[in-house]
């Protein structure tokens, strides 16, 4: 496809994503995809530069893949998924001759360590604790609610429980009662417990080069685990200055020279920002897709620019549009969960279908009639995409989708 520039970097992409590979094929950087062997025949068939690799836990062989890439002349490795973040760290510590990068990637992979590091660096975080079993969860739930001066019998404030090392909402539970605790299975431990913050949750996508933010996007969550849109409403964007300071703090605290981060924050009613967590890889919920829809740039290509040591500042400046003003509209998406216990058909609600903002959906017809009871976030049945001018209308629209049945 695109002509490759031999003066620019050669990147290894860790993980298999057709959209990402498509972006690589249409970009001027040389690339190689490192992914599990099940993708090999497809890659071969379509002439996609490919190295087969199984990303299990880091092991003795991790040096082998780093050496292979080094011998090929690869400059840097880019992680696509949570599971490949520490691999990228390990490989880049070899490729870039910087052992610190492995340790840094381990921080990104452990939500508890990450929070402690942030706290040590003076970043405000909520109350949190590690839980090894259910009794830890009960204790945390009680203590948090005592702190809030709740009496026995009052409705508890919820707490959040998250797996240490899973992406996004996978394994994320909201816990209010002892019954909720009971429903947790033992293999979900150890896990991270956090107090609930009433406020506005949002995510940031930041491309970093030479310890400098090159582009900062704010993704507004309408309801966590359901919906997100970019760019955010003016009400959230007014905190952009404050948010930028926080990201700069993160860069310092986590010692980030380059790459891409995806942190989550709360902003409370009084404007205090609380750090939630940070990931060193593209966000879920197809936020890259939303950014492309709104801003027109390919976020995967932006990823390559941020990782490639041979990228110049001029290239960066030319690539990114101006935040917010450079967007042609607001792009949002909604994750659909079946609301009924038994479903037989996919049926897009008429009001969704008829809304001028509705773009398309990627929902599959139901495979099973029985819907398994939902215990955690992160298992939506597909995404519905919207695009339109008015961010407030977008927010209302996404909120409204929660009350509609897509599966009947």
């Amino acid at each position: 496809m695109a002509e490759k520039n031999p003066d620019k970097g050669y990147v290894a992409v860790l993980g298999w994503s057709l959209r990402a590979i498509d972006a690589m094929a249409r970009f001027d950087r040389r690339y190689v995809i490192v992914a599990p062997e099940w993708a090999e025949s497809y890659a071969k068939e379509h002439d996609i530069p490919f190295i087969s690799w199984n990303f299990e836990r880091l092991n003795d062989r991790s040096h082998e893949i780093a050496q292979t890439l080094k011998d090929m002349g690869v400059d840097v490795a880019i992680p696509l998924f949570e599971e490949t973040v520490e691999w990228a760290g390990a490989i880049n510590s070899v490729l870039l001759n910087n052992p610190r990068l492995l340790g840094q990637s381990m921080l990104f992979r452990d939500k508890s360590l990450m929070k402690r590091r942030a706290q040590l660096g003076g970043i405000r975080v909520g109350i949190f604790e590690e839980a090894m079993d259910k009794s830890d969860v009960i204790r945390f739930l009680k203590r948090v609610n005592q702190t809030l001066l709740k009496l026995e019998g009052d409705v508890n404030d919820p707490i959040h429980m998250k797996a240490f090392d899973k992406a996004g909402c996978l394994g994320h539970r909201v816990i209010r009662t002892a019954d909720d605790v009971d429903a947790i299975s033992d293999d979900e431990f150890p896990a991270l417990l956090e107090s609930h913050l009433d406020g506005w949750e949002f995510a940031v996508e930041a491309w970093i080069k030479d310890r400098k933010i090159q582009f900062l996007n704010i993704s507004e969550y309408v309801t966590l685990g359901y919906s997100v849109f970019v760019p955010a409403t003016p009400e959230l964007e007014k905190w952009r200055g404050r948010i930028t300071e926080q990201i700069e703090k993160l860069i310092d605290v986590f010692d980030i020279d380059f790459g891409f981060i995806h942190p989550e924050y709360f902003v409370t009613n009084d404007g205090t920002l609380y750090f939630g967590e940070v990931a060193y890889r593209p966000p879920g919920f197809n936020a890259f897709e939303l950014m492309e829809r709104a801003y027109g740039f390919n976020a995967y290509q932006a990823l390559v620019l941020a990782f490639d040591p041979k990228t110049t500042q001029e290239e960066m400046d030319a690539f990114f549009p101006e935040p917010v003003k450079g967007a042609s509209g607001h792009a949002g998406c909604f994750g659909v969960y079946p609301r009924r216990r038994v479903v037989s058909d996919l049926d897009i609600p008429e009001e969704t279908e008829d809304h001028p903002y509705f773009e398309f959906h990627e929902l599959a017809p139901p495979m099973e009639q029985k819907v398994t009871k939902r215990t955690a976030f992160g298992t939506h049945w597909g995404l519905v995409y919207f695009f339109g001018e008015d961010p407030h209308e977008m927010r209302e629209l996404l909120k409204r989708q929660e009350e509609l049945d897509f599966y009947v």
């Binding site: 959209r19 498509d22 094929a25 249409r26 058909d345 773009e359 398309f360 959906h361 017809p365």
Partner: protein, 669 residues
């Protein structure tokens, strides 16, 4: 198109264009991840007014962008026209849209707006011609059982219809005209009560043929007969001069000319089943000018009909005055056929008709009639006209696009067999908006019952159906509720209670209700032969029409659903083949049930509105019938086992294949 529609379509087109650009940009291996969104956007655009044209403009680009990549549609030269219909009927939503896009691409190639290697323009044109000719029901707008059952697909079905209308408009009717005309004749031979869509097609053909010298020969003849039957069947009306001038011509003609007009109209009407507006004007003129002696000629009556007319002349004239208007001219055919049936001699009929002539219909009845048929006539006139139509053509009734085959079948049975009861029901509902029946001694009042299978008043059917079906449907559903827990098919009890004493109480079903598996199929078929096959039942004819249940299968032989029909008679056809003649409340009985079972509607001894199949083929789709213990005793022993075996095999190959009980399956191995 309103301005908001215009806005709509450009907004939808812009969204499609964005997705299309993504698809165009994507590397070949990544296109797969953008296809579904392009198809979804295309679907939404397609469903808007004007969407087909907008998509047609993009057909070439979509093709070049790779929308068909990795599918069979990627090599258009190898596609088969006969597969298109089934894809559009049975395919997944996305596949249907893909097929629509493919058709529009063919059109773009045919019109020279796009090129595909290996597919010359004239080949694309030929392909589309064949597709159109093979899918005439899309153009006719008459839906089959199979397409109606897939109710969730109705919207997409309408979209496909719009694509076909667009193709027809661009390709022209030239090549498909001959096929179209045959199809019209095939439908008219069933003498349906509703001929609106047929008339619509004839108008289109007339427009095409107007001043056209290209088409000649046999096809032209068939078309001319249809067109003239509507627009000028007689000497004085031949140049389609308009009703006013036609009447003034009548005023200035002699009595011989009037007689010729009368017989000319009658011939056209009985030949085609269509009544011209001039025919209605002529009959009205006869009454106004006191030339009623010509009415029997204008109705084309035989000696039977003529005798009935003479006995009841004041009644017939009163009916014509009340019910025959330009909007209800078709009722002249119903009137003639009703007279031919001789039912006026049954004592309750004439008084029932007099009651209908003076009935003051309820407000609700009036509103319903007006909603369905407009206000060109009074509600009473529409209702009376509809009733006459139904009495003249009891097997011409159709269920429209409603899941109410039971109700349509009941109306047809009463019109055929119990007309005074039908009068009673019509009068009762027209006056008081309620229907009262009894189920095993308990009173059921439709005004107090919840909705049945359909919650809406069906507006796409005949006047009697529009009035009665909502009530009948509720009563049918309630009867079902009252015996639904008896562990057996409820029709055992519903059928006799709903229709009348003459539905036999002995009930046979081929399927075990609890498991859905076949049960004693061989015995079921032997019994059916013993009851209905004249060679095995002591040559007993069917006396009253009997309700029966059919497992409808589609043209591939795949089970579609259970369907209510009635058995009218069983007899040898002209070729000596024993056939079952039956009534299918579906709008068009001529259906292909797969594996060579093609229901015939004419040419095999069928009377108007009858469908027929050779006895064994019919039995292979039968799953419920009633019979009378009187006729089936001790007989049927002589049915050859091979014949039963062959029928069972036909059932197994189609709907009964996955209903074989386990032990039987084990035996088969």
């Amino acid at each position: 198109m309103t301005s908001s529609d215009a806005f709509d379509i450009s907004a939808f087109a812009a969204r499609l264009d964005y997705a299309l650009e993504q698809l165009e940009r994507a590397a070949p291996f990544a296109k797969v991840s953008y296809r579904s969104r392009v198809l979804d956007q295309a679907r939404r655009l397609l469903m808007r007014p004007g969407g087909v044209a907008a998509l047609y403009e993009r057909a070439g680009r979509l093709d070049d962008a790779g929308i068909f990549g990795g599918t069979d549609w990627d090599k258009p030269a190898g596609l088969l026209p006969r597969l298109v219909g089934n894809t559009l009927r049975y395919g997944e939503r996305a596949t249907i849209i893909l097929e629509c896009l493919s058709l529009l691409r063919f059109l773009a190639v045919a019109k020279g707006a796009h090129s595909v290697s290996g597919l010359p323009g004239d080949q694309a044109q030929h392909f589309l011609t064949q597709v159109l000719a093979l899918n005439l029901e899309r153009i006719f707008g008459s839906t089959s059982e199979a397409s109606r059952v897939q109710a969730g697909k109705q919207e997409i079905g309408e979209t496909v219809d719009a694509v076909f209308a667009f193709l027809l408009d661009k390709i022209g009717t030239d090549d498909i005209l001959g096929i179209l005309i045959d199809e019209i004749w095939r439908i008219l031979e069933q003498r349906p009560l509703q001929v609106g869509h047929v008339k619509g097609m004839i108008v289109q053909i007339a427009v095409v043929l107007e001043g056209d010298a290209v088409h000649g020969g046999e096809m032209r003849l068939g078309a001319d007969r249809l067109i003239s039957a509507l627009f000028g069947p007689t000497r004085l009306s031949a140049d389609d001069v308009g009703v006013e001038r036609y009447r003034s011509r009548l005023d200035h003609s002699d009595s011989l000319a009037h007689l010729k007009e009368a017989t000319g109209f009658a011939r056209a009407m009985h030949d085609t089943g269509l009544v011209s507006d001039y025919h209605a004007a002529f009959v009205q003129w006869l009454i106004e000018t006191d030339k009623t002696n010509l009415i029997p000629h204008a109705l084309g009556l035989s000696s039977t009909g003529l005798d009935g007319y003479r006995c009841y002349e004041p009644l017939i004239i009163a009916i014509i005055r009340e019910a025959i208007h330009p909007a209800t001219g078709q009722t002249l055919l119903g009137l003639a056929l009703m007279l031919e049936r001789g039912i006026l001699y049954s004592p309750p009929i004439a008084p029932s008709l007099w009651r209908m002539l003076s009935i003051n219909v309820s407000e609700h009845t009036a509103a319903t009639m007006t909603a369905a048929f407009g206000s060109a006539c009074t509600p009473r006139a529409f209702l009376l006209a509809g009733l006459i139509d139904l009495l003249g053509q009891p097997l011409g009734i159709g269920q429209g696009n409603n899941p109410t085959c039971q109700s349509a079948r009941a109306l047809s049975m009463w019109a055929l067999n119990d007309p005074d009861y039908l009068f009673y029901l019509v009068a009762r509902v027209a006056l008081s908006d309620r229907m009262v029946m009894h189920f095993e001694g308990q009173l059921l009042d439709s005004a107090e019952l919840p909705a049945g299978l359909t919650s809406l008043t069906p507006l796409d059917t005949d006047p009697v159906s529009v009035l009665l079906v909502p009530h009948l449907d509720r009563i049918y559903a309630e009867m079902g509720r009252r015996c639904g827990d008896r562990g057996e098919d409820p029709h055992r009890w519903i059928n006799p209670e709903l229709h009348g004493w003459w539905v036999s109480r002995s009930f046979h079903i081929a399927v075990d209700v609890a498991t859905g598996m076949m049960k004693d199929h061989a015995a079921f078929l032997a019994r059916f032969h013993a009851s209905y096959h004249p060679l095995y039942n002591g040559n007993q004819p069917v006396i009253h029409p009997q309700p029966a249940g059919i497992a409808v299968t589609d043209s591939r032989g795949v089970f579609v659903g259970w369907h209510a029909i009635s058995i009218i008679r069983a007899a040898l056809d002209h070729d000596g083949i024993m056939r079952v003649y039956f009534f299918n409340p579906n709008n068009d009985s001529g259906q292909d049930w797969g594996h060579g079972v093609v229901v015939s509607t004419s040419g095999n001894g069928e009377r108007f509105g009858e469908a027929s199949l050779p006895f064994g083929q019919f039995a292979s789709r039968l799953y419920i019938f009633h019979d009378d213990d009187l006729s089936a005793q001790e007989m049927g022993a002589g049915v050859p086992a091979e014949e039963i075996g062959a029928i069972m095999a036909m059932a197994r190959e189609s709907w009964a294949g996955d209903r074989q009980p386990l032990d039987a399956a084990a035996q088969a191995i």
